[in-house]
Symmetry: C2
Subunit: 150 residues, 2 copies
């Protein structure tokens, strides 16, 4: 199949290098599978995804999660609010904070974008052998755990 790759991954350092390149490339491909007519930005979509998973958040927590500075997140969120994807409301007990949640439009946008990118990948997965799919099925949770370490 791909002899040089298999040879490289025999050592841990080789595996690290190969995995890094593979993951970066696949990630780039997946990012490019966005709706070209969509007005929403990549960073905006990422924020919607976090709110979808976590239910609600604040500017500070979102900034930390996305590894961005608070003023940058303020701006991203302001655009999302202006375009109707996100709703701001005051925090119950802490007047300094603002709580952010998805609007109906925001939730629907997340679902549509996910379907779109999952579709691209699902087609490629169907072209693999059952054995290859099985390897990826077992690799997915390991990759997930890797990114949460450190």
């Amino acid at each position: 199949m791909v002899p040089t790759v298999e040879k490289l991954t025999r050592t841990d350092a080789g595996l690290a290098s190969q995995l890094r390149v593979s993951v970066a490339r696949l990630s780039r491909r997946l990012r490019n599978e966005r709706d070209p007519d969509s007005t929403i930005s990549v960073s905006g979509l990422s924020v919607l995804g976090v709110l979808f998973r976590e239910g609600e958040s604040t500017v500070g927590r979102l900034a930390e999660h996305e590894r961005v500075r608070p003023p940058s997140m303020t701006r991203t969120v302001s655009c999302l609010v202006e375009d109707g994807y996100v709703v701001r409301r005051p925090h119950d007990t802490d007047g300094r904070q603002t709580v952010l949640t998805l609007s109906e439009k925001g939730e629907e946008t997340v679902r549509v974008e996910r379907r779109r990118r999952d579709a691209w990948l699902a087609v490629r997965l169907r072209e693999l052998s059952p054995e290859e799919r099985d390897v990826l099925r077992r690799a997915a949770p390991i990759l997930e755990a890797l990114s949460q370490k450190g």
Copy 2:
């Protein structure tokens, strides 16, 4: 371990979704492991990587490879030339084209940055069980092939 993930990946659509999220997150982590004191940009580093692998290229081919418009690549390359990472020379037979290659400094930069990011990942890999590493060892070439499809 992570029951929800294992359940999700039983179907192909679920595997696509899970793999997409895992890959995107791991990729983000790896990108953040860059040298904070480095003056070179992420896109610049990516271009150096292509030149390292392919030996030489042109503005047009690099723009296509990085999915960027030619004027953007002209600017990225100009910075790389100005900072001494890349060398321009005229094409042998076609006077319109410019051939780009890495300088010594450019090659060394690629090696240093690779070592740095591989080091982060290699540490995480050592924390896995031998069985988990084996799964990733077999998954790496499949992920690589996936990104080259379509």
